[in-house]
């Protein structure tokens, strides 16, 4: 038997990248801006999405894809707003990939939709590696997770366009420095747009809404 060596330089995630590009084209064709929302479990993604849908109901038609390992809790919470929602249960996988998104698209009517929020599986590591076809990655970090997270999970901060620092109403009760989070995040990613918010007190939410509307206008004009 002759041993032969085959050179192949091939991106292992190429299959994912290809489907992500198809998704992206599909969104553009429908005039939809898609955002990939990522955070650790319990940072407040679902609450924020619910609140965003209700607050912007007269301005943006929002649909949601919910990614969770198990359960339909999040999809049920979102559907109470009246928005279109599809739940993906990854059955153990720690992230969403482009193909999972692709397969759910037939379950949504994106024609009236302006903004598609894809809520990724709660995890600060793996989701950063898989593009879904989104226009931008938005990450949430809640103050109770601690101000050391940017340097502990740098890739996610590096890949995101927006950082929402959530639960700032808890600041009087915990040892967390917003300044440290901001400083270290910006060192990792100087282009990061940062909002400090609380879904409880509604502080900072207007700025987030304004950003979403402006970004939608910029990326996918009506």
């Amino acid at each position: 038997m002759i041993e032969i060596k085959i050179s192949l330089v091939k991106n292992i995630l190429e299959a994912n990248e290809k489907i992500a590009a198809q998704n992206s084209q599909f969104f553009a064709g429908k005039g939809v801006m898609a955002i990939n929302m990522m955070s650790a479990p319990g940072a407040g993604k679902t609450t924020l999405i619910e609140d965003t849908i209700r607050s912007l109901k007269n301005e943006l038609n929002i649909a949601v894809i919910e990614g969770d390992i198990q359960s339909t809790y999040d999809a049920e919470a979102i559907s109470s707003t009246g928005a279109q929602v599809v739940q993906i249960n990854t059955g153990g996988a720690c992230h969403l990939d482009a193909n999972m998104i692709n397969e759910t698209l037939s379950q949504l009517d994106l024609n009236p939709v302006d903004l598609l929020i894809i809520e990724n599986v709660g995890n600060l590591v793996c989701p950063a590696e898989f593009n879904l076809g989104e226009s931008c990655k938005v990450m949430l970090l809640s103050t109770s997770e601690g101000d050391d997270k940017p340097l502990k999970y740098p890739l996610m901060f590096h890949e995101s366009s927006v950082l929402l620092i959530n639960k700032i109403d808890l600041l009087p009760y915990i040892d967390c420095s917003i300044e440290k989070i901001k400083q270290e995040s910006l060192k990792i990613n100087p282009d990061l747009t940062i909002f400090e918010i609380s879904c409880k007190t509604r502080q900072g939410l207007n700025d987030w809404h304004d950003w979403l509307k402006a970004e939608k206008q910029k990326k996918v004009p009506l």
Partner: protein, 113 residues
């Protein structure tokens, strides 16, 4: 944990390419993985071993080459290798850095008969 899906993609890519080169068995697959690509080599080896069992790649070894992280400073133009986050230019101290290598996740070659 996403090493499992990476292992699956490796198996798919290589088994799809084997017939083109008339290979029936593959001894080694060489990968190039950037230092800040979030892959644990042990988890990848383990995932590959488990998933390849029922395929023509049963017994194939993965060789992983690590690619160091290189940055390009957008402020002063210096290219440099960096050790740890955050990325700071050793020349001018600025942090507006473009990563030019270290995010690879590639199959470079495979060898068999």
């Amino acid at each position: 944990m996403h090493e499992l899906s990476i292992a699956q993609s490796i198996i798919e890519i290589v088994t799809q390419n084997m017939p083109k080169h008339n290979l029936t068995k593959v001894d080694t697959i060489t990968l190039r993985i950037g230092e800040i690509t979030q892959i644990m080599p042990d988890a990848l080896h383990f995932g590959f071993e488990c998933l390849s069992k029922e395929t023509s790649l049963d017994g194939t070894k993965l060789i992983i080459e690590t690619v160091p992280v290189k940055g390009h400073c957008k402020t002063c133009g210096q290219d440099f290798v960096f050790e740890d986050w955050p990325l700071v230019c050793p020349e001018c101290g600025q942090t507006d850095i473009q990563i030019i290598s270290g995010r690879e996740l590639e199959i470079v070659e495979f060898e068999g008969s």
